[in-house]
Amino acid sequence: MTPRRQRTLVVIGILVGAGIGTAVALTAFSGNLLYYYTPTQALSKNLGPKDVFRLGGLVEKGTVERKAGSLTIRFIVTDNRNSIPVVFTGILPNLFRAGQGVIVNGHMSNRGVFVANQVLAKHDSDYMPLKLYNKENGTRYTEPGQMNRGAGYGGP
């Protein structure tokens, strides 16, 4: 075996070793790498009021309810198989809207409602010009500023 071939094997060995080591570590901790649970995952875990976790899914259309005169909002988070009702009081991010992805942090109440202390909006990686959207859908898109007046960020 030439010295060069030997060095090649050593380099490949380092890479393979590091790769396998990382793969094993990531598989072992993969539960912790999940940033959120879907409603199906959350329900299967029987989480109680003391378990703080993040719940992610789509805001079900037509379920967003605002309490008049307060920042309290109720909506249902769904993964199209199971769904969990959520209640939140506070400021919503700009991308929050019905039909879009959302991640809420909090815990389950005894009555099966998720009490959130933080709401994060997930982007769907789709981009489209506003004018094109309005033309295709025949309506004006609900812009962030109109959707959540308490947000404080942007929105014309």
């Binding site: 590091a18 991308l95 933080q118 010009p129 094109l132 929105g155």
Partner: protein, 224 residues
Amino acid sequence: MAGRATPWLIGLTLVLMAAGLVGGLWLAPPDYQMGDGFRIIYIHVPSALLSMVVFAVMAVASAVGLIWRIRMAHAVTAAAAPIGAAFTFIALVTGALWGKPMWGTYWVWDARLTSELILLFLYFGYLALVHAFPDRRTGDQAGAILAIVGAVDLPIIHFSVQWWTTLHQGATLKLSGTPMPVSMLWPLLVMMLAFLCYFAWLLMVRLRAEILRREYRARWVEKI
């Protein structure tokens, strides 16, 4: 060779950068969900791409340097590292400034953001490591091993949005059907090329300096 390519790279970088900025900040239409806020994409995605490309270049150069014992290859790794760190830093900061209005937070510890932060630490680790040895050769070899092992982070960054649930969205740029119209896409591609040319330009400059420093005593250096 490097000296002759540089004027071209400078010109190309400036032209592409100017075109990309005009396209991204003025010509591209506002997004239907994010309005004008989505324009951060034109610096965020190119710098994130380059943060990974540069590390890949370092890993390949390191492997070449270790296997064939080519000192030039280690010089390439050393020259590329500070540039890559700068791109990674930009990707993280612009990402935070984009996340705040859209997601509602500057930072989360999801797999995508965390693995990109680890990449920044890998760059810092490399730079600290190669300068930690009094002997340049030992430093080069230690740094090369770190670059090769660290390259494991690259597929993790790329696939993190598929393997785990993350706040960061999945890829927009795909070979099969990009969910972005041409009017918004072309400035992004132009900016990606501009960042790539800028990297090539700076790599040439840093590589020349690196070689001059390393071959300080060599005769041929005098001719430059």
